[in-house]
């Protein structure tokens, strides 16, 4: 909570004081990806169903935004419309697949996302391969701004809401059941936890969060097409963020997003001018190292480290009292 407050304060100060468009763009991207990573974390971290197709929910929001604006409707309507579409898609695809375990589920998400991608490319009303370009406008009614400040505020609002929702999830019955199912689904089922309905609930919320991020992305970038919103590559980016930071942790996605932004933008700027793909090399290497040595990601490693220290202290204290007695 303290960390969240600090981030909100820092974000607000940034939005109000910094005029540097590039820095603001980085902050916006960071917040957006942190939200997407957290959305992925709900189903893949807390519930343990690793998704490689999460971009389709992001796409729901982005396409909702594009459709609203190009049909002359308010982009604000895209928030509920995208959310409903994403939740419906999550429930329809999750109902049969969420009971699948491990790689069965992961490959099923790739299959579902590939089908969605192929269908979008054949639908004229969804812009086929060309996608949509959103006309330029300004102001809160159009949800588009010449300045970066309002975008940062919106992203910050979304990020804060999602972090608070995640804290609530961790403390709620849903979160408790999800962890129980992830730890041992047979035991959880034995005590009467209905796997399918609880996971569906988590999946639907996760999709809604991703859709909100999609609306914000579309209103910011003003361009929506399959490769930049629903393709496998976007899904993989989202999963990377979740994995690197640490799955099933509150701050994992934010840390993952930070690493992502630093690597994708920083390394590309420093080393990328040569077109050599070094960012991918560093990225891949980090994930390999994390997977081999610290399976719970960066945040997981820090938490483990803290626990160990605290454990050592307690042990030290216990032996000290023991010595006195």
């Amino acid at each position: 909570m303290i960390a969240l407050g600090a981030i909100v304060a820092a974000g607000l100060v940034t939005a109000l004081s910094v005029r540097d468009a590039v820095a603001l763009d980085l902050v916006f991207t960071l917040l957006l990806y942190a939200v997407l990573g957290q959305s992925w974390n709900w189903i893949s971290g807390y519930a343990g169903n690793i998704s490689f197709g999460h971009a389709i929910f992001f796409g729901c929001g982005a396409y909702a935004s594009a459709l609203m604006v190009t049909h002359g409707l308010s982009p604000w309507l895209a928030i509920p419309a995208g959310a409903v579409a994403a939740a419906a898609l999550a429930i329809v695809t999750g109902f049969p697949t969420l009971a699948l375990r491990g790689h069965y589920f992961s490959i099923a998400t790739i299959a579902v996302a590939a089908i969605v991608d192929a269908l979008v490319r054949t639908q004229p009303w969804l812009g086929r391969a060309t996608g949509f370009e959103l006309p330029i406008a300004s102001g809160w009614a159009a949800l588009q701004f010449a300045d970066k400040g309002p975008y940062i505020v919106l992203a910050l609002v979304l990020f804060t809401a999602v972090q608070i929702a995640t804290i609530a999830l961790e403390r709620s019955r849903l979160g408790y059941y999800l962890r129980a199912l992830r730890a041992n689904h047979a035991a959880a089922a034995a005590v009467g936890i209905d796997e399918r309905s609880w996971k569906l609930l988590a999946f639907a919320w996760s999709a809604v969060i991703a859709s909100c991020a999609g609306v914000l992305y579309a209103q910011y970038t003003l361009f929506v097409d399959p490769p930049s919103t629903i393709a496998l590559g976007v899904s993989i980016d989202i999963a990377l963020i979740g994995v690197v930071g640490g799955i099933g942790t509150l701050w994992g996605p934010a840390v993952g997003a930070l690493v992502y932004v630093v690597l994708a933008k920083g390394v590309a700027l420093e080393l990328g001018g040569t077109g050599k793909g070094y960012d991918l090399v560093i990225y891949g290497a980090i994930i390999c190292v994390i997977a081999a040595l610290r399976p719970h990601g960066i945040v997981g490693a820090i938490v483990d480290g803290l626990r160990r220290r605290r454990g050592a202290l307690e042990l030290g204290a216990a032996s000290a009292t023991g010595g006195a007695a």
Binding site: Y104, I107, A111, I115, I236, K276, C288
Partner: protein, 288 residues
């Protein structure tokens, strides 16, 4: 009559396509069967093998001559990757293997881009460019060579697993790792061998595929995606299942492309995966 010829031609095309898919999938299913790991970097192993084949071809060892070398190189590569990396993943939580091999995918694609650039590269004037004709049907020589390669590879792998001492040990590890350890089987060695053989299979596949495809850093991705579906359809770990499933997927794709729509031809393939894992999660010929 014409419709019938078209149908027969599509059938032949579907079978040959299926054999290419089998070529890529058998290595994946072996690794899965023995150690319960889906190697998400399988397509990148294929890509590496294709670059290796191209390199050998440019040195004068044309695709088929260089094949044994590519197989040996990939076998060693597989063993090294297992020893250095996959072994550690197996010690972690189950999702570590998903993330770990996924990280390997990203790493290998990045390295390929750094070393070879993102250009398409192909074997100059590859052999078997001609056409074979029979009974009004036509197929390219290269796809027949690839199909034969797939059948030979599958047969060899099947015989190895069924009839050799090491193969039996692999099956024992696949059945029950702890029991196998108690029986005195060195599980690490068997795992390493299986990973090496899986990579060697991809080495052979890469060598054959360079007859028809150019290589580039993400060249393995479309093959790997189909291979995941094939392995799941056939039953994770079942070698004969992978062959049957690959033929089925090849025909679904080709017939779907013709009678449904070319841009939706993968939809029936992915739907088939979803239906099978939901209705019969052990796959068509899987035992578990």
């Amino acid at each position: 009559m014409e419709a019938l010829t078209t149908f027969a031609q599509l059938l032949v095309g579907g079978v040959l396509t299926g054999l290419v898919f089998a070529l890529v999938a058998v290595g994946l299913t072996l690794v899965y069967g023995v150690m319960d790991v889906v190697n998400f970097a399988h397509g990148e192993f294929l890509m590496l093998a294709m670059y290796a084949t191209l390199g050998l071809a440019l040195l004068g060892l044309g695709p088929l001559l260089g094949l044994p070398l590519a197989v040996i190189a990939m076998f060693l590569f597989g063993i090294i990757v297992y020893r250095v990396f996959v072994r550690r993943l197996l010690a972690g939580p189950p999702e570590a293997t998903v993330f770990g091999t996924f990280g390997l995918l990203v790493l290998m694609q990045g390295l390929a881009q750094a070393v070879f650039s993102s250009d398409f590269l192909s074997v100059p004037s590859p052999p078997f460019a001609g056409t074979i004709r029979f009974a009004g049907l036509a197929v390219s020589q290269a796809s027949v060579v690839e199909g034969c390669g797939a059948l030979i590879l599958t047969a060899l792998l099947f015989a190895f697993v069924e009839y050799t001492e090491t193969g039996r040990a692999m099956r024992a590890v696949a059945e029950d790792r702890i029991a196998a350890t108690l029986m005195g089987i060195d599980v690490q060695r068997i795992n390493g061998l299986a990973f090496g053989i899986g990579a060697a299979c991809v080495g052979a596949a890469g060598g054959l595929l360079m007859l028809s495809y150019p290589v580039y850093p993400t060249a393995g991705v479309p093959f790997a995606l189909t291979a995941f579906v094939v392995v799941a359809l056939g039953g994770f770990g079942s070698i004969s299942g992978a062959l049957v499933a690959a033929l089925l997927v090849g025909m679904l794709e080709v017939f779907g492309g013709f009678y449904l729509s070319p841009e939706l031809k993968l939809v029936p393939v992915y739907l088939a995966y979803l239906v099978v894992v939901l209705v019969r999660p052990q796959g068509l010929l899987g035992r578990r």
